[in-house]
């Protein structure tokens, strides 16, 4: 057995030595200035016109989708929605730096990453209307998307559970010899959950090629970041776990892209986890069930509106000669129409037949669930008016 020495990297001191808060200075990567020019000394990431345009268009699309779906919820057409306004760059530009083979395990505010992968407006609508065209079979609340062909893991509501799962998924990718990583999105609030600490520690110890992407948007529902943690954000925790760590301006699409691109290279080359803390701001309410006027000021929000990632990128595209205002207007108008049309279509599609209430609990329906669904169907036949969504198809 080899000798070990867990003091090998410990230096000594002869006075009481205290590490004060903030002693670790973790700088935030910024590439783009608000006017669309580059910061001095900043290096533009290797981003071609097509990719840059796709990032930009996806951010615009998500803003339209969010606006329209909040409206649909207000009209009572869907039960719930959760917008990503102001944070589009964090999800979209990070997804753009990945390969399609990389697994995405998200929290619930990363619709931008999913749209970038190619999730269609109809797919968004079918999930939100819980209809039978949704491959998740209408089983979860709106915004809990999941799509196997796009390597986007189905979202679950409990916070942070995807973090150790991402470590395990990435370990499996490595063991199978895949040239792929897992990216795991979560917010600064979720980083207080035990699963965050478990997941980072395991990924570090077991050398998992996973990117932990934290959107530090300042609020967990109403709880401000200063009541969530006392240390230097989430990034300092990565250092504590021996995880390579990057802090980035989450409202700077070029910086997010550059950081994620580098994180992916490191994760693959060195077979290790990388933590990215993207500093951003949730301009939207937490969800349609939330009202931010109860915990923050209009003035505070306005300061962040001025840092809007979409405008920032538009100015950069303009400087590059890649921005076409007329085309952009057309795109926004078309997105609005598409969302409306797909929404009307999805509303008309039935929910799954009642037999699906017991499928997928196990790989096959066991005896007791067969009994239960048969009893239920007999009951629905007796009271068809009480169960209008399914009674028409119960024979």
């Amino acid at each position: 057995m080899k000798d070990r020495n867990h003091l090998a990297r410990v230096s000594t001191t002869h006075q009481v030595h205290i590490i004060e808060n903030g002693l670790i200075d973790i700088p935030m990567l910024q590439i783009l200035q608000p006017d669309g020019s580059l910061h001095k000394e900043a290096k533009e990431p290797d981003l071609d016109k097509d990719t840059a345009t796709r990032i930009y268009d996806t951010m615009e699309y998500i803003r339209v989708l969010d606006e329209r779906m909040i409206g649909a919820q207000r009209q009572g057409r869907i039960s719930f929605y959760l917008a990503s306004t102001g944070e589009e760059a964090a999800a979209v530009a990070s997804a753009a730096a990945l390969s399609d083979n990389d697994m995405i395990m998200s929290q619930y505010r990363e619709q931008g990453a999913l749209a970038y992968r190619g999730y269609t407006t109809s797919q968004f609508m079918n999930q939100m209307f819980s209809n039978e065209a949704d491959p998740n079979k209408g089983r979860q609340m709106p915004i809990h998307y999941g799509d196997k062909p796009l390597n986007f893991m189905t979202i679950s509501s409990p916070l942070g559970t995807q973090i150790p799962q991402a470590s395990g998924y990435a370990y499996g990718q490595k063991m199978a010899g895949n040239e792929a990583v897992t990216i795991c999105y979560f917010g600064e609030g979720a980083a207080s959950e035990g699963d965050f600490h478990a997941g980072l520690n395991m990924a570090a110890v077991l050398n998992c090629p996973v990117i932990f992407f934290c959107r530090n948007n300042g609020y967990a529902i109403s709880t401000p970041a200063e009541e969530q943690f006392a240390g230097d954000g989430i990034a300092s925790r990565g250092i504590g776990y021996g995880v390579k760590t990057i802090r980035v301006d989450g409202n700077d699409p070029l910086a997010v892209y550059a950081a994620t691109q580098r994180a992916r290279e490191l994760a693959l080359e060195e077979s290790c986890p990388v933590l990215i803390e993207a500093m951003t701001y949730r301009l939207a309410a937490h969800s349609t069930s939330d009202d931010p006027t109860g915990y923050r000021s209009r003035e505070e929000e306005d300061k962040w509106r001025a840092k809007d990632p979409i405008q920032r990128m538009a100015k950069w595209l303009e400087k590059k000669g890649w921005y076409d205002e007329a085309a952009n207007k057309k795109l926004i108008e078309k997105s609005r129409q598409d969302v409306l049309a797909a929404l009307k279509e999805a509303e008309k599609i039935d929910v799954c037949p009642i037999d699906d209430i017991v499928t997928d609990v196990y790989d096959e329906v066991p005896w007791h669930l067969k009994e239960q669904v048969d009893e239920l169907k007999a009951h629905i036949r007796k009271y068809p008016d009480a169960y209008p969504k399914t009674s028409g198809r119960v024979k």
């Binding site: 697994m103 395990m105 949704d134 491959p135 998740n136 079979k137 089983r139 979860q140 809990h144 999941g146 799509d147 196997k148 893991m153 189905t154 679950s156 409990p158 559970t161 973090i163 150790p164 799962q165 991402a166 470590s167 395990g168 998924y169 990435a170 370990y171 499996g172 990718q173 063991m175 199978a176 897992t182 035990g194 699963d195 600490h197 478990a198 997941g199 520690n201 395991m202 110890v205 077991l206 499928t359 997928d360 609990v361 196990y362 790989d363 066991p366 005896w367 007791h368």
Partner: protein, 325 residues
């Protein structure tokens, strides 16, 4: 055939499956080079390498979270929780994630390849935190399977079936039998069915139902009752979820009486579920109320362990009460 104790049978099953399927990975606290605190994973790291058998940090929620991710990716994780008493930090991962993975995604993703192994139960002077039998907590959780073997032969066959089953399985090992129970175990590959009870002994006067280490308690009680001329049928439930209600009901229709024995506390224990189902299915066949012989509704005590346990004497008394009702 070879004589094996329950630990050797578990170890043998793991070797059998790791040789057959290179996607199988075994991990948990101290399971690597050391081979686990009970040695169930002895020599696996030597044989299959550190990539496939490894230590994890001390974090049960991390172990099961990691295992969920690994299973959803297509690997075949066999995760060990060192003691059933310490499974609760992973309760959220098991209840909200493992059990719901397939359902919530419409079958797009699943963790069906996952097996969670954990020792459970008392009788080893383990006190509150090395003795619990938490099966009923998980029996309330659709999407899981729960399997408990009663001896080395059952352990190997049921563990191989659990690892290969397309659903997540919580495999609970009766730790007081780890070294105490020795039986003939085939060295070849074999499986025993999940979801099926096993009639250990046929009889005509009363059905005694249990699982895991309590089966030998039922056998001892049945021997005592036999001296009074009472013929006991003993059934090992083997799978707690989904459970074989049909086999139990058939037996009760024959004997007219049912006694259920488990180590876990009485209130809300799995015996309650069995009793409720059997009175629904066999009401007119029952000659006496369904008897439950269980642990007390207390935390698991240390100094009073013997008194707490639903042993053969308590079981024998309950058999007599049921027969004389």
């Amino acid at each position: 055939m070879a004589k094996m104790n329950l630990l050797q049978a578990i170890n043998n099953a793991l070797i059998t499956e790791m040789e057959r399927d290179k996607r199988v990975m075994v991990f948990g606290e101290d399971v690597g080079h050391f081979g686990g605190v009970f040695r169930a994973t002895s020599h696996l790291q030597e044989k299959f390498g550190k990539g496939r058998c490894f230590n994890t940090p001390l974090t049960e929620q991390g172990i099961i979270g990691f295992a969920n991710g690994l299973a959803s990716q297509g690997s075949v994780p066999v995760a060990e929780i060192q003691f059933g008493d310490y499974i609760f930090p992973a309760f959220d991962q098991i209840v909200n994630e493992t059990a719901k993975f397939r359902y919530r995604s419409g079958g797009q993703f699943d963790v069906g390849s996952l097996t969670i192994r954990t020792p459970y139960g008392g009788g080893i002077a383990g006190g509150l935190y090395h003795s619990q039998s938490p099966e009923a907590f998980f029996a309330h959780c659709p999407g899981l399977k729960i399997v408990i073997p009663r001896n080395p032969y059952q352990a190997k066959g049921l563990l191989l079936a659990s690892i290969r089953d397309k659903n997540p399985v919580l495999f609970m090992e009766p730790k007081r039998l780890y070294r105490a129970s020795v039986s003939d175990v085939p060295e070849d590959d074999y499986e025993l069915p999940l979801g099926k009870a096993d009639v250990v002994q046929e009889g005509s006067d009363i059905t005694l139902l249990g699982w895991g280490a309590q089966i030998e308690i039922l056998q001892k009680a049945a021997e005592m009752a036999l001296e009074d001329g009472v013929s006991c049928e003993i059934i090992d439930l083997r799978s707690i979820l989904p459970w074989d209600a049909k086999a139990v009901a058939e037996s009760v229709m024959k004997t007219g009486r049912l006694l259920i024995n488990h180590e876990a506390p009485m209130t809300g224990g799995f015996a309650s579920e069995v009793a409720a189902t059997i009175q629904e299915r066999c009401f007119l066949y029952l000659e006496a109320p369904v008897a439950r012989v269980c642990g007390l509704d207390t935390p698991y005590p240390l100094a009073h362990e013997k008194e707490y346990m639903p042993d053969q004497y308590k079981t024998y008394e309950a058999i007599k009460r049921t027969l004389n009702y």
